[in-house]
């Protein structure tokens, strides 16, 4: 069951809400409805569901309705129409008290401009969510401290927010949201106010945190690079409508329409593609079964000058060169262990292509692509260049 689900969520700002919704049904655009009714459509029939542990990114340019959409999810803005289900409960029909309870226990929010309380210390800020639930003082201090340590601010607990840099302030914002131990984190352009270096650092940290915490995160951003880095899935918004939902690769490779295509055409492909997308099936010999003769034969067949050596469990042992193999054959050596070389560079299947550039540039051999110590493929120089030149030859459906 999805942990959070939006069904036909709409928000119309202005007076003639009913009329505007009717016109939406007729398929009129946002501008036409504004002209006709004087009402602004913020979000138009947004539907999606987010599974537990997922990072779901909602992306769009400013004015696309993404910040409104995230506020509909915890009803900071009341939906005009539609439903929000959290753990199967319909949030949109709840009374004030139940809604407050959900906000306290299940949904926490991180804000673009941090929204820290300037009159409270860092610790008191992180405690806020627990304080209003009347948690005992010791417990809330302990949990707040733990959250602050998690984001690396354990030493700053008695400072005031204004004494901290932007990046640190947003860590406090994150700690404040985490201290409640919510199921879902709503992050509204959480890193957009930070400078690029700090932003990247925070993104990495969020990914690290996520790998241990397994929260469900709904992340709003206008930055495609950020969306692609963080998102397990991405929803693209335009004029209040979700135009496409998919994994980063799906969105890059199969843009749903011109708008998405325009959005993604400037993306640096080398940041998106990983080793698994450009690797080839490796030619191998088995160290336990084969000798130099077989190795030489395979190399001749494939027209290559070296071949990878594995054992029966596909553990990579190294590689042998054609030169070494023919030398060994002359000397009547039967076993590959004597001539196997181990200085082969390895990368993980998730390594980004931009990080592979340097490795492959320095290497005389192809690069081995590993998954949990097992050999999965190889990357030759030509494949990297081909991938950059045109994405059509890249196997993006690799899994």
């Amino acid at each position: 069951m999805p942990i959070i689900e939006a069904k036909n969520l709409s928000k119309v700002f202005g007076k003639n809400k009913k009329q505007a919704l009717k016109l939406l049904d007729k398929g009129l655009t946002k501008e036409e409805i504004l002209k006709e009714t004087g009402s602004t459509v913020g979000v138009n029939r947004a539907s999606f569901s987010v599974e537990a542990g997922e990072i779901f990114v909602i992306m769009g340019l400013s004015g696309s309705g993404k910040s409104t959409l995230v506020r509909l999810l915890n009803r900071l803005i009341e939906p005009t129409e539609g439903n929000i289900f959290i753990d199967g409960e319909d949030l949109s029909k709840m009374d004030k008290n139940s809604l407050r309870q959900i906000r306290r226990e299940k949904l926490s929010m991180v804000f673009q401009q941090f929204a820290l309380f300037p009159h409270r210390t860092i610790l008191k800020n992180a405690e806020y969510g627990l304080e209003i639930q009347n948690a005992p003082k010791e417990e809330r201090e302990e949990r707040a401290k733990k959250a602050l340590e998690l984001v690396g601010l354990g030493d700053y607990i008695h400072q005031k927010p204004s004494q901290l840099s932007g990046g640190m302030q947003q860590r406090v914002g994150l700690a404040r949201a985490l201290a409640n131990d919510p199921k879902v984190l709503l992050m509204d352009e959480a890193f957009s106010a930070l400078d690029p270096l700090i932003r990247k650092e925070m993104q990495d940290e969020l990914i690290d945190l996520q790998s241990t915490m397994k929260k469900t995160i709904i992340f709003i951003t206008h930055d495609l690079d950020e969306a692609l880095r963080l998102g397990d899935r991405i929803a693209l918004m335009k004029d209040g409508v979700i135009v496409q939902i998919g994994t980063p690769e799906e969105i890059l490779v199969n843009p749903a329409n011109d708008y998405v295509e325009k959005f993604v055409e400037d993306v640096d492909i080398s940041k998106i593609l990983t080793a698994q997308h450009i690797m080839k099936r490796p030619e191998t010999v088995n160290i336990e079964k084969h000798g130099p003769r077989v190795a030489l034969e395979r190399m001749r067949e494939e027209g290559i000058s070296s071949i990878l050596v594995i054992d029966s469990k596909r553990n990579l042992k190294g590689y042998v060169t054609a030169e070494d193999a023919s030398e060994a054959r002359k000397n009547e050596i039967k076993d590959l262990t004597e001539i196997v070389r181990t200085d082969i560079p390895k990368v993980n299947r998730d390594t980004a292509m931009q990080d592979i550039f340097n490795i492959i540039y320095d290497s005389t051999t192809p690069v081995a692509v590993m998954k949990d110590e097992k050999l999965e493929g190889i990357i030759v120089r030509g494949a990297v260049i081909a991938a950059l030149a045109s994405d059509s030859e890249v196997n993006l459906n690799a899994e």
């Binding site: 915890n74 900071l76 407050r100 309870q101 959900i102 906000r103 306290r104 226990e105 949904l107 926490s108 929010m109 804000f111 401009q113 941090f114 929204a115 820290l116 309380f117 300037p118 009159h119 806020y128 969510g129 304080e131 209003i132 639930q133 404040r176 409640n180 709503l186």
Partner: protein
């Protein structure tokens, strides 16, 4: 024809109406006004004559100086001014008058704050309250302060109590306005954050909005205290004792000297109170 174009109806009996309302209130609420007049009057008399006037002036002056010293961030300026200023008032034989004035100003200010802050909060939360009360506040502030003396006398007779009542009406609006403004000015982000974490209305108010609005509210309270002080001369017209009465009687007898001396006393008191309340504000920033 044009000469009587505006005489389409006879004069509206506005003044009779005002009198009628006042008489009505005096009559119907005397059960309320009389005990207030009596008990509150006794209390004020007790405050000024039995408490403040029994404190030896030298102790009072030192206490004010110490308060001034610490509240201005351990600077000597205001403390020294307080010592010299208050001594001068003592030296001129106006100590008892000063104590009466202090009582009047303090009580009027405290009541203004007690009444004004909640009304300000109400206005910040309710559009309807805001729409109704804003013109009322305008009326209270622009109506010449002397006019309040008339119903004040009708309700409470003469003396300190009607003085406080008139001061209250005149001095409360800034506290109300600044409280309203201060809460409305709290950043939307912070209010949103408080809501997003599931605060109740009261939690939001006391943990976020009021602390954030404190500086603005304090500025309003400072204004209120100053207005209350400015009422002391006017209130003396209905028998409120203190420095104001000295100014008034000097005016009536055209005595420049005593008028100046009592006036200086008010100025000194005003400066001390103003600087102290302003510094209370700054210290918290």
């Amino acid at each position: 024809m044009l000469n009587n174009a505006l005489d389409f109806i006879p004069e509206i009996p506005l003044s009779d109406a005002a009198k009628g309302v006042t008489d009505f209130i005096t009559d119907k609420f005397s059960f309320l006004f009389n005990p207030i007049k009596e008990h509150f009057g006794n209390f004020m008399e007790f405050m000024s004559e039995d408490v403040l006037m029994n404190i030896p002036p030298v102790i009072f002056i030192i206490a004010v100086a110490i308060l001034a010293f610490f509240i201005s961030g351990k600077k000597f300026g205001l403390a020294v001014f307080s010592i010299v200023g208050l001594w001068l008032i003592y030296n001129q034989g106006h100590w008892d008058n000063l104590m009466n004035t202090v009582t009047l100003v303090l009580l009027a200010s405290i009541l203004s704050v007690i009444i004004g802050v909640p009304i300000g909060i109400l206005m910040s939360k309710s559009k309807a309250a805001n729409a109704i009360l804003t013109p009322v506040l305008d009326f209270m502030q622009t109506m010449p302060a002397f006019v309040y003396l008339i119903p004040a006398v009708a309700f409470f007779g003469i003396g300190m109590v009607p003085g406080v009542f008139a001061s209250l009406i005149f001095a409360t609006p800034p506290t109300v306005r600044f409280t309203n403004l201060g809460i409305r000015q709290v950043s939307r982000d912070l209010v949103e954050a408080a809501d997003a974490f599931g605060s109740t209305g009261a939690q939001k108010l006391f943990k976020v909005e009021l602390p954030m609005a404190k500086a603005t509210i304090m500025a309003g309270i400072n204004q209120t205290v100053m207005l209350a002080l400015s009422m002391v001369v006017i209130a003396s017209m209905i028998g409120a004792p203190g420095l104001g009465r000295e100014v008034l009687s000097s005016l009536q007898r055209a005595q420049v000297g005593p008028g100046f001396v009592a006036g200086i006393g008010i100025v000194i008191l005003a400066i001390i109170i103003d600087r102290i309340t302003q510094n209370m504000n700054k210290k918290k920033d």
